[in-house]
Amino acid sequence: MEKRIGIGFSIILLLMMMLSGFIAYTLMDFVKSSTIESSYNFKVVGSSASIELPQVSPSDRIYLVLNTSSRIKIDYGPMLKQFPYDIEGLPYDFEDWLLLQQRFCFIANESSPNSTLRMSFLDPEIPYCVKIAQGEADYALFSYIDYAGVSYVGVHAKALRGQSSRFQQVMLIYPYHRVAEQTFQINGSVKFLGGKLSHITFFIITRDRNWLPYTIASNEQIFSKTINFNINLYNRTIFGRTFSEDFGKQILYVAVSIGLDSWQWKYGKVAYAKVGIGEIKIFNGNEATVIEPKLSEEYTVNCNLYVFRKFHPTTIYTISILVLVFLVFAGALMLARLSGFEFAPQKLFGPLITTEAVSDPRPKTYLAKLFHKPRYDRLIGLLLKFAGRKVSVLIDVGCGLGVLHDYIKESGFDVKLYVGCDVDKKALQEASSIERILCDVQHLPLKESIAEVVVCSEVLEHTVSPNLGFSELLEVSKRWVFVSFPEEKLKNALGFRFPQHISEPNATEFKRLAEKKKFKLLKKEKKYFALPPSVFDKLRLRYEAFYRPIIVFFFRFFSIIFRNFSLIKDMLLVFKRRGNQVDVI
């Protein structure tokens, strides 16, 4: 048998490998053709340009990568929708060259062979990328040449009306990806051309998110004044200490920041400043970089357009995956058989849940009261309903410690003779308040029809032959038989069989036996318990503890909601003898 399973498993493994190979081939075939790239290099004179788009499907993504730092507005028409870069937005814009160089992402909504992407260049081309870093501001760029013939990139920075922020900051950022060496130095000049300045600051922005500021000018108001500056990393000190650890840092950007302060202006006036930025030279080691103050209306545009296709599962692919899952499942079953795997939760979770605990029915002791108390309450309710409060002779078969007697007494029953039967000698010794007989339910040493009421609660499942025991109960009863037992098919199937429950009593069988003995089934009640009492017994949680209501609530809630999945269904049957009654002896 094992050999056959082994061969079967090998075949399944082979099929799985073949199917996986097919799936991998399908995917790889798609991956090869999943990216379509087109490059565009053109010169734009004026302010706009267009790019023809290839045909795309709704789930394809289009990425346009423009190698320019100019401010561009893109009209993507009704068919395309732009994704945001990220929801948090601003903080990242300054740190990632990817965003500084204006890469755009689109999602295609409709397929169209003739759609075009129209780009409008809003500013003249300059070496910098312009960003509003603080407050809300607008800016315009212009060319400025002073009387000595020196060129500048002119920036007209202007605050917007009605904003809550007092400060505004316009930054001209130049991507500079180098490691700062000891000789790192920046020379340059700026010229104040009008308005009122809060400050002009030069920033070195490093990859570890440090912004190293160098103030070039503050509160400047002298028109046409030229400020020459020289910066090296020794310029910047805090608490009199030079930041030597700035050497060796990866510099991402250098930036000139033009700051405005609305409070410098009268109410109703809008803060503005005009600044010219001259040539800036950066020396780093043996390398010198010159940022020329050049403006141009002619743009050299290099851009790449990517269409990224998305995988759409075909019917064959879907079927292959489902077949693969089926094969894996079948393989698991075979391997489990081969390796001798046995689904035995009791063994597995032994240390966590065990059925070895004694379910002590004394309600004051443990949370087992959750199980026993409702059983007794239900039994007493039915006793009261059918047999009445006055009972001449009551035989409690399997009385144990006499807990039911205590309940009956508390509930105000008038029982003339209460007899308890049990096989447990020790338990009988404790149940001293009742008449006791040491006997087995399967062989009751009592006369026929001796008791008005016979009660047998949670006993028959402990016997070898529950039917024999039940027949005995019917024999000795003159009128009423109350019998309860658990139905634990699910619990037993899962491997949580309570070791002392050696049989499984059957209500249908009992009904058949009762009819033979001229008894009628009057009532059949089921009570659902989500978990076996032994779980709670094992935890030894005190019933009186402060969390009792929570546990009781959840236990009952789950027992009701998941009644069909309850591990225990507790049955209570009430039988009554038909026809003439035999006199009580």
């Binding site: 789930s59 994704f83 929801i87 890469r103 990859r207 570890d208 599962p313 240390p351 935890l539």
Partner: protein
Amino acid sequence: MLRARRFLQVELLYAVTLSTIMIFLGFLPVSSFDDVFMKETGLLPYIDFRPGYPPVGKLAYHFLYNLFSRTSVYSFSAFFFNLSALLLLGTALYLCISKLQPRRAFTLALLFMMMPSVIYFSVTHAHADTLAVAAMLFALYFIDNPWVCGALCGVGTLTKFYPASLLLPLLIYYKGIKKKVSLLYSFMFVVLLLSIPFLLADPLMYLSVAISHTLRGPSESIFSLIDGYYGHTGFLHPTFDATIYSWQFAAVYNQSSYDHFRYLWKIPALPYISLGLQMIFMITISWIAKKRQDQKESMMFISLAIFSYFAFSTFYNPIIHLIQVPFLVLATLNWDNRAQIGMIFAFETVNIVHSLVWFTPIFLYTGTQLPLALAVVLRTILYVAVFLNFAKRRTA
């Protein structure tokens, strides 16, 4: 069992106290930006969008975020989810220790749960590390059964990727081909079963999650410092770039030595050295575990193997502490009580120093490098101390 009951009661009390303190102090998780991005754009995770982590851990938070539109309600729900996961982790650790050293179980499990950085990083972050580690610990607890072990490793791997590292020591530890195959098969079975919806919808996007994860660079480890990379910086966490497959994004964005998510090593040998050390230590320690007659001792060595996986990893951040410490606790159970607790405290102290780099303005004055480098070097010394101690015991 009396101790277990006491531990459960203390956990209940712990949960109530911690909830009160954390809610009072306002230490609640915030929604992660990719969840916000997906909700704003209407993209579906693992189908239209590639999150940074596998689905079991990620989708729990995504579900909570989509269920509660108000951020504050999300924060509370995510907090209680995290707290439940922490309690589960505490219980798993308690059970594992009680299997090896019952006397120390209560103290050590509680000590772990009381550590400030464990509390902070498990409860306030929208990452499911606690669940992943709990799955690993339960796998260790059920070590006798390779099927259960494999299944738990599978669940852990789909929560965060690193629980898959437990497979190597277990494969070496199990004797007999049937057990080894059972372990691997149940692992694959669970991974496949839980991945069916994503495999049917878009397998390439699902695969991209794992591929992007492997392209990540180092972070705050000794390898990171040697390579001259000091933090978790660079290109943003996946947002608009995550709407395409990872290799498609590679076509538009080159690796660089300052991008954590697409890192270019300055010393290309370093990741291989890290991987080599991880493999050598894990295989050697697991082999020792296999040779041990006593299963308890074997479990300790397997824990040490997992500990060494994180010790030689190129990636570290203060959150890794809560993954690493349970295995340190299990691995050092045969140490002297004081030495063990001393070592755990030492790791906790170093992690607090490390956390300062993230959360206090100290780096405004000194730069991030000094405290970070200090923490990394101190931690490396502790690693050396742990391994030397084991070597000493082994030779003794």
